[in-house]
Assembly symmetry: D2
Homo-oligomer: 350 residues x 4
């Protein structure tokens, strides 16, 4: 951390900062410039925050130099991580490209099973589907709750696809974790710290969507919350941020994939369905996600979008999935990625 003093800070002001840092066991190095004096601090960042140096006289601002996350940082863990999902251990990581597909919301057993078969046919190795839906209107369909989870579990039994599903309340984490293979934390809960802590203790991998107004650093700090409770099985999901542009529901921050990969060892996937909010954009954005180096994508599909209870306009149909599968097959080898087949299946095959 660097402390920048005001132009008229006195020598006493500077010494007071140095003294407080030194008393706390840190070290301080003073550089006197023409315009102002700066003080470089050596030691533990979180500790310095507690010192409240900004409230001392003559202090203008503090500039953070090192990153505030540790467990998820690549600085201390240079090898990229692979997260394994489900009993069959489907990988999400640097060597593979994982297609996660399924309906936005679980509506009926038939719809979910039909969607799962569509997903399988397209090469998906994980099934997504929401039983608890965070909806911006209290009058909108809020999901089937536990009966939706049971449908997902039944479909897993029938198809073998591990399931990824959202949890929206810390109190539901145990329930959801008893059915799901991977817990999803949604964009609206990106700074719901109680929920982050609860999924950090749930013993299941977590898909952490970026908050629609979270910086990449805040997103990684949310992952740090989960890791801090002992769970490093976290997959980051870029799903678009809120900007002034309105022709898409959100603005997909495609750069966030290489930036997050540079800062963190965690896998990063992209949600091309919710970022654009338009079915016609899912295919081009999926290709962009592959090309930029994402470890997978998560897409909305529906056997009959015109009757979908949630986000119908962005769901892919069968013919779209054929195109998507072809694109994945064509592009991923250029990135040296193979299909994300279940590790157990691979083990048997080999």
């Amino acid at each position: 951390m660097v402390i920048v003093m005001t132009p008229n800070a006195t020598n006493e002001n500077v010494q007071a900062v140095v003294a407080r840092v030194t008393e706390a066991g840190g070290a301080a190095s003073v550089s006197r410039g023409d315009a102002r004096t700066i003080i470089g601090l050596v030691g533990d960042l979180d500790h310095f925050h507690g010192l409240n140096l900004l409230a001392l006289p003559g202090v203008e601002r503090a500039v953070r130099i090192s990153t505030p996350f540790k467990l998820v940082s690549r600085e201390h863990h240079s090898q990229m991580s692979t997260v394994m999902v489900g009993a069959t251990r489907v990988p999400i990581g640097p060597d593979t490209f994982t297609l996660i597909a399924g309906p936005c919301a679980v509506e009926t057993a038939e719809q979910t099973l039909a969607a799962a078969h569509m997903a399988l046919a397209a090469g998906a190795t994980l099934l997504r589907g929401g039983a608890f839906k965070p909806r911006s209107s209290p009058y909108a369909f809020q999901g089937l709750g536990e009966s939706g989870l049971k449908i997902l579990a039944d479909v897993r039994t029938e198809t073998g696809l591990p399931i990824v599903t959202e949890v929206i309340d810390a109190a539901d984490v145990d329930l959801v974790a008893s059915y799901a293979d991977m817990l999803q934390v949604g964009t609206r809960n990106a700074q719901n710290f109680s929920l982050l802590q609860a999924v950090g203790e749930a013993g299941k991998p977590v898909m952490l969507k970026r908050g629609m107004s979270s910086t990449i650093e805040e997103w990684l700090m949310a992952a740090e919350y989960i890791a801090h409770r002992g769970n490093l099985e976290v997959v980051l999901c870029e799903r678009g941020i809120r900007t002034f542009e309105r022709s898409t529901r959100n603005t997909l921050d495609i750069s966030a994939v290489p930036v997050a990969h540079d800062l963190s060892h965690l896998p990063v996937v992209v949600d091309p369905s919710h970022s654009g909010g338009r079915r016609d954009l899912v295919l081009p954005l999926s290709k962009a996600a592959i090309a930029v180096g994402a470890d997978g994508i998560i897409v909305d599909i529906h056997p009959n979008p015109s009757t979908a209870l949630c986000d119908g306009p962005q769901a892919l149909v069968e013919e779209d999935l054929v195109e998507l599968a072809a694109a994945i097959a064509a592009f991923t080898p250029l990135l040296n990625r193979g299909p994300a087949l279940p590790t157990e299946v691979l083990a048997v095959t080999n």
Copy 2:
């Protein structure tokens, strides 16, 4: 709702939309333009969302015409509401200007009591203070929890000031409500729908901060969630939104006060401390809030900011509060607002 058809939509496409709306009990009125056809829908908006008209062939987009909130809307409730807080019934509403002050975080009994006396001296009639703190780093001070609530309750006993405090998890709502006079929902939980529903059932007034990336409409929809569970004692709090500007922590959207007042009957207060994140901006932003028509402000104060465990740099000290009290006394009469004294006290006086 207006359905806009694509330029090449056929007559059959138009008829299919009309048919689906009519079957659902709505009415549809078709206007054929040079460039494209639009269909005006008459009936219940939420119902139309379920119809999934966007997924029909030839439909380009749907344009919402009426507001999606009802219970908090001024359209059906033209008189502005006053929310009464605490046993002594401190008003927040159109006739008064309510100063809410206190420490960002409850740290010790002494600090909280000292802050409460500062608040009282400045004319505050509600005490704020956080026992559960949502912090972006898992390594930062997270609040004292229930022992912080006990400190607040003790300080209320001593000073008579009703207390406003944040709740960050639906599971804690009953606990917090057993101590607090008003529940605060923070900006990071602006779309934590479980929490909104829980405070909707808690039987205590709610201070609902705007999400840092919530539109005014989404903010009012969050209030609708609370109202939908039976609680109309909601005060909206504008606290700055996230923009590209970085000289302030957030950008105070001062226009949100008259816009929200125009759309909703709920009171609106402003948080000049968290929006700017700078102590030197609290006074000018407070004056702006009064002038634009806010029903109150909520400010961070601290008896000794240089030792604060949270947001010290923005906390007001005693001398600032003298200035703030003078500004409130000078400006509020121009808006025809009086001090927000406890109603019971007024009753005794009169």
Copy 3:
């Protein structure tokens, strides 16, 4: 400037930075931290930019410590400036509150004169009006050009009001300056550096609108461009920034007034008409502007908004102006500001 090295930077990397800075006549002070080394630079910032230190091996980033503007900075010029406009020297500065009013676009001599009389009646001491209009559609009314300037000059002769009018092309600066008392640079030209340089040489005061996506620092750098050509008669105008919120045309950044006053000695006025884009918001936003410490406001008025060729929906009519004049009369004395009467008039009176 502080240079932050990467975690794995070598001692040679650090020495190379120090050497390049020293060779260029600067001084460098190295602080070795646990996580990384930082180097504080002493000397001329602009010079360091030319050194291209970021391209040296082991350099992660450069953190600017001091502000990049000089002539407009308050650091070197602590007293607030007053800009005098027109032959009668109407002040814009710390002791007064200046009401600038007029039609968005000059349409006819009658409309302009009627608007000028409305402005005068409300206490305005400067007349605004556009002859060159930057319009986002090539099919929209683009202004009357020089004949509009002539109308403005005639109205000035008749009413005595100095005129503020926009110039949108460097090639027109001499022409516009030959009629106008103050040149306005609009939000879309906030980084049109040719235009900024041209108005810097025109010998007339400049009203510099903030770019809708300019940071406060970029806005001050635009002012520095004008000052750099010898013209320090610059008034900053906050007119709303572009954010995700859509209930207002732009988001008025009310905090920008005290922030700009803190950083610069230049006067700051607010445009409540274009920021909100709604007639009903002009009065509350004007009050907020006064309260926060603005040196004036610039508002759209029209004798008959329903026939306006430009931005009719936000123009104030006669009854609004009565209210606005009353608000200015009531609020400005609380800020120790008097009316911005022409200095020559005052001189005669005294």
Copy 4:
């Protein structure tokens, strides 16, 4: 256009709108809903804007239904356009992928020639380079001006590469057009309408960068300005927008490529250098641009970035270009695009 009336609009209010539209030769169709009445307008949009319907009593707002651009719209011109650049007619369009490369700023003849040879070796068929540089500081290097243009022309003679260079002032358009093969309008001039009109009359193809805060619609309206003056040889360039995220200089809006292709027949290229502002992001963002369907990319290169006078940290060096050329060779065939060789060369070859 749809006119939405206020909830309490009277029948007379509705009739007044209909009357004004009808008098102007349009047609209006009234739909009376439960909550409010809407009026669909049939006829010329620009005409309706002149009617100023928003200023009539009882009118709440107008909702635009059709797009405001015409000449650049795909609605009236469904086939995608190819823009040919230079005497050798280098194509930018649907069948090819065009690599445009060169130094951010022309510094010396040697540097420019070295960069051109780097560009050629990587397969670039157009050379970029700035002689007039819009810089946010008046103290920064502003470009060599006409002597820079001469260097570019000499390098064209030597290498055969047509040149793309920026023009920042309408007054310079003739000069720049006398040297350049393609005129670039930069992000800061995206709404400099005088400049847009001037390049619209210059008889040379135009590379139109998106404004950093322009919506896609505003960007297309800027193109419409150019087209309106008779020049349809416009290539759109997405270069990142301004958002709250700060780990990249701008946020590349990758979705803008398919969205613009859907709305307009003009070619769209991507600038991966200025959007990220980081050399390490240029390669992944270039791949994303290819994959999403861009018609080309424009990248900064420099023979020796550590001495660059402008944007050195983002310039690619020789080894990066080898990787970039390999990526283009591998990815573009998957999109059915070939290299953008000069048409004349192809003609000779065939």
